[in-house]
Amino acid sequence: MNRLFITVSIFLLFICGGCKKILDTKPQDFLSPGTYFNKAEDATAALNAAWQMLTRKEMYGGTYQFRWLTTDDCFTALSAAFPANLGLDASNSQYTTRWNQMYQTIQYLNVVLANLPKVVMDETEKGVIRGEALFLRGFLYYELAKEWGAVPLRITPTESPNDVNIPGTPVAEIYAQVLKDLTEAETLVPTTASAMYGGAGYAARTTVQAMLARVCLSMTGYPLNDASKYQDAKDWAQKVVESHEHALNPDFTKVFINYAQGVIDKKESLWEIDFNYVPTYTAASGYIGYLDGIRQTNNAFGNSAGQYRVTRKLILSYGPYGDTKDLRRDWTCVPWFWKGNASTEDIEANKTYWGPTALYSRYFGKFRLYYCPETFTAAGQSPINWPMIRYSDVLLMLAEAENALNGPTPLAYNCINQVRERAWGKMLPGATDIEESHIPDGLSKEQFQEELQMERYRELAGEGLRKQDLIRWGIFISNVKGLLSDILDPTFPAEANRNATTSGQSYYSVLNLNKVSERDLLFPIPPAELQYNKMLKQNPGW
């Protein structure tokens, strides 16, 4: 029996001896967030992942701008089921895509912010990465709150698959977090003049200030209606102006040609989404100039689907049709289209001009592929950058805030008139009679606001800002509904309006827009979110 017990003892040793270690294997084949984040490059590569998300088509890659944001400036001339055409079901996958990508980006940013402290690197540079990440997170939550209202707020990385139920955070609280992120970012990111500033896609100090102005101005309107934020909006906008790092590009058209040519004009353009033409890597390019643009499918002048058209209301906002000195009109609302089978590069010879009554067919023309260094790019591979904040926007925000606080003061006038001077070509060499571009003197506060609203309409048309402007001013639904009477206006030949191109699609698109209702102030929360996050409620009307 002794032998038995010895054997059993040895056997027990087999079982218990040093076993714990055997099961502790470590991944050798890939990295995980816990083992990564050691050096500066790690943090940069993780931040880049978030930057790159912005170039996705449903983020700011073009689909979102041209198929979602239709209002009374431009419209999506395609009857397909895009958010722009209203009347979609909440279950439409397009909403899900943008929602998911927004939060995916936020997760990337939260991962960066959570792991940054342990990265060994220069503290200033670390601060820049933190600042960039905070700026972006603040921006994304601002966008989410505008588009979806009370959404879940996550400021730490999701770590468990069971951590799914989060209630919607009230819009005011989201804005508070946005301001917190942005104000901290403002102290951390470099100025555009700094060597650490990384280019068009990066936020500089003035970028953050301009974004703060935009956020604050949004807070003054619907739904928060927090008038106390006018002062903040003015202060932030004024900081941008007083940095003297920015100025309007004297040539309005050059602003957009620069986006096409890949020329970075920091003075005018405070923040861009950077797209690139890389033949072997289509994800680097966007749809700017492709979905919109002047329709041309055989590539001679760049391949554009031409799905984005301007309204007659926009065309006429620059003044009577035959008599406008505003150079923005014919750049934004292209008065011609390409001839079929355009095959030479002689641009002028390939143009066909619309008739004066064809005011519902014209292409939106701010982003023109034929200015790109490589015009023969494949369909849908546009390198044109997208402007997120331009200096004229900052000036108009300053004018709006100033007028709201103090009425139409010289500061307010000065800001709006700068924009108008540029628009009328009064900053170009040899310009005369500069004052004729100015808005009339002696306006009341209300008249000034009205003029300012029109100026934003004319200056920023098609740049994805109009919808939120209208919503915060509380005139979104009435303006969009107004389009129908505009297209049916008997003083203009209706058929020409509706049917100048091929199928009268313009008319049907506008008819679609007439479905606008209260619910369209917010997008629907995707069904998967509601299904798997049991604490969130659908937005009203959806």
Binding site: Q28, Y108, G262, A528
Partner: protein, 1047 residues
Amino acid sequence: MRAKIDYFLKFLRGTTLLLLLLISYQANAQVKVTGIVRNDEGSPLENVTVRVKDFNVATKSNEVGQFNLEIKPEHKILVFSSIGYKTMEVPINGRTVININLNASASGLDEVVVMGYSSTRKKDLTGSVGIVNMEDLQKAPVQSFAEALGGRVAGVQVVSPDGKPGSTPNILIRGLGSITQDSRPLYVIDGVPIEDPDNNMIDPADIETMTVLRDASSTAIYGARGANGVIVITTKKGKKGPSVVRYNGYYGVNQPYKYYKLLSPYEFVRLVSDQFGAASNPYLTGGKSLEDYRNVKGTDWQDLLMRTGTSNNHSINISGGDNNTVYSVSANYIKQTGILIASDYTRYQGKLSLDQKVGKRAKVGGMLTYTRNLTTGGDPSPGATSSLFFSAYTYRPIAAPAFAEFPIEDLLYDPQNDAGDYRLNPIISYSNELRNRINKNINGTAYLEYNIARGLKFTTRGSIYSIEMRNEVFNNSKTRSGGPYSSLGINGTVTNISRDVLSNTNLLQYNTLLGANHNITAMIGTDLQETNYKAFAVGATNIPDETLGISGIDAGIVQQNRANATLTKNTLMSGFGRVDYNYAGKYYVTASFRADGSSKFQQHRWGYFPSAAVKWKLSEEKFFKGQSFISDANIRLTYGEAGNNRVGDFDYAAKLDFTSQLYLQGSLVGLNAVTQTLANPELKWETSVQKNLGFDLGFLNNRLNLTVEFYHNKIKDLLYRTPLPGNTGYTSTIKNIASLSNRGMEISLGADLVKNKDFSFSTNFNISFNKNRLDALSDPDEEGILTVVNWEPNFASTPAFISRIGGPLGQIYGYISEGLYQYEDFDKLPNGTYVLKPHVSGSVVQIGRGVPPGAEKYKDINGDGMITDDDKTVIGNGYPIHTGGWSNNFRYKNFDLNIFFQWSYGNDIINANRIWFNGGELTYRSNLGPQNAFAEYVNRWTPTNTNTDIAKIGSNANVYSTRYVEDGSYIRLKTFNLGYRFPTKMMSRYKIKALRIYVAASNLITLTKYKGYDPEVSTYSSGLSPALDYSSYPRPITVTGGINLTL
């Protein structure tokens, strides 16, 4: 006489330790009987139970075979029994010394069943265990047992992808046990548990026993790896005695048994006119008219692609030994040339096993196998137009007049085709593609057995299973990927994969008899296993000279996307125990328990898997005595839990990925660090809770045996991609969330119907019914899983299979075909267009072209007047209702005959070939030039031929419909083997112990309604997409002649 027994048994679960603390035994007797038990070769036998018949008195023999028993005068007969030996009854007749020799049992209830860690007698089985009749299986001329396993054992389903030599079938035991993970069983080869071994590694002739453990009471001892059943294989070991040489050799041919009929040249030309218009038909130029093609015989590409293959096999085994040493040496060579050109399979194998006694108590031994497999020939179904048979079916059979002088059979491209038509000469391209798969396998085991005390044995075993795999791919200028249509130039890739499994098993086995009737066998053990996986690949494009072959990879441009470096490992540590108890061979109780610790999991690192079984042998009860009709009757009831740990080694960890590139201002900034997946520290194995009820009946001294089993397996914690709300930053994650169940019944019947000196006839029949059901998916539940089969880009987002909650897995999903839209369904407008009548359902799926007369019509299930996605429904079963096999052995004098039928009933197959080549949407793609089609396409819809169900050219949608779902049921004569054994007397003159010559055949006759090459098919197979056939490798009929020689 009275015996007093005290025993105290303690079973410690947590450490899986069983300790027998106290055994005391007292006896009070008058006469002492002693003796020595030996086997038929004269060696002493230990552990033989010696029992007094009809009395409660028993003992066991010691290590020198000696037993001592005290008996009373009324004791008349001693019963000797031991595993592996025939039970023997010996009258005492007043003797005090009784020496006996026990005979090894060949079959029947005394047959030893190897269950991996332990073995038992068949009559003592409590769980559901299937025993493969190896003698029958070895009559099939196949290179791997897996090919011949289908239908041999109830509950085992073999899903075979196609007929390519060396292809590996998927074996399912009692239905699909997982949704997303591997459902293949665990293999235990000579005592070593291995997941996913290369089944080609084992020569079927070298297998001694094969057992299939079906229920958890048998598999729970394999814990986290046992849920999908266990196949236990022992290979041949040496036997004591003079050296015996056994040789099995055969040579034979493989033949395609079915061809698709294609259009004749005449019909082909007529089709070209229908498609492109007679005016632009290139065949009707140069003064030729349609009638000129009436009797032209074109090129039959299918025929050129197929050939008569050969099978050539030599297996040799030499074994022998003495009391202390036994050895066995085997070698095998097999070469099969496939029925498609350029596809071959070659195997070389050598094996050595040695067992040596050391002293009285110890035994050491080992086994070493080396195998080298070479499989050549490409995958015939990579997808879409690249698939081999796409070219073979659609390539033009004849040349248009303008191209008559081109020797199309010698050209890689058809000069008649337009640019953009990527069809290639299937013969040239397939034979130029180098696709070599070389597997080198080493499997080595060494063990030590030590008899500590009577009935107590310690075994330790160490083993290495090592597989080195090299895949060589080379595309020269005459191939699809390396030819002029490819931008890559001449290219190649070599992938090296190695997997090393190191294992250690320690076992302590005890068996004893307490009193006369309490039989206890107990075992505890530990397992340690480490698996290392490495894969390295490098590939290059634009190789300057193709004569270099794969050695030219370093001369080309090395591509990052052809490089791979993978390094991963997992470890497993386990403790387990099992107790078998029976009272007088009447009442049986078995319990087992295993604890598995796996490195693949974090929070749930340890898993615990219990099982229990009870059995009542009714036939031992008094009320059964006195009749001889029923000789054996059992009721068995088992319960157990087993796991499936086939998840990635580090699936629990969050992964950082570096695949996306960030460009700023035109230049690459770098690779982004993307947090791709969410960590799931709660990940754990999938658990199968299995219940089994079995009945065994033996009639007429067990000449007729019937076993019926009922089972219900509930598999929970299945890994499934469960959706997450977007706010998490992820859209889905893998969680242990789904569940499914398998229920079924198995009937096995065996009968020795005739057993004479000159003639015998025995038959074995089995049938298995399995029903699976998806019980739950995610939380909250999704409706089901749609599975896409990417055989063609146009079907890349069209689900082919659906697994609905509450329904079976892998059902075929699509529309119910209702013939075609005919003229009477339309109103003709004055402008000549046809508009559907109001009551006829239109179609959304075909919109864009409108629905013209002659288009396929589907059933409008929801009656909304439109065919939409909502009108899709289940249109076929991916899995059969029942499968089975029927094996018959006849012997007449020296002739023997084995006939084995195998069948599958109730399963359907999507015959995707017909979607493309017989009138589906894909037939006649406009971007391709003239394409040949299946012969039935003659009967397509035209304005003058409307009474048909084959649609008009090019007017259908990319959908699956009942039109292309075919009944995949079949019954086939799987194995036929007729042999003649030369009389022993005659042979002994030549010093030959035995000689048998035979003719063997596989797949000789198949009865099926399936129109494809073969109903045993599953291209792009997965558990959820079990039944689609596109461009599959046809299964051959194999006919061989061979000899079995024993010297």
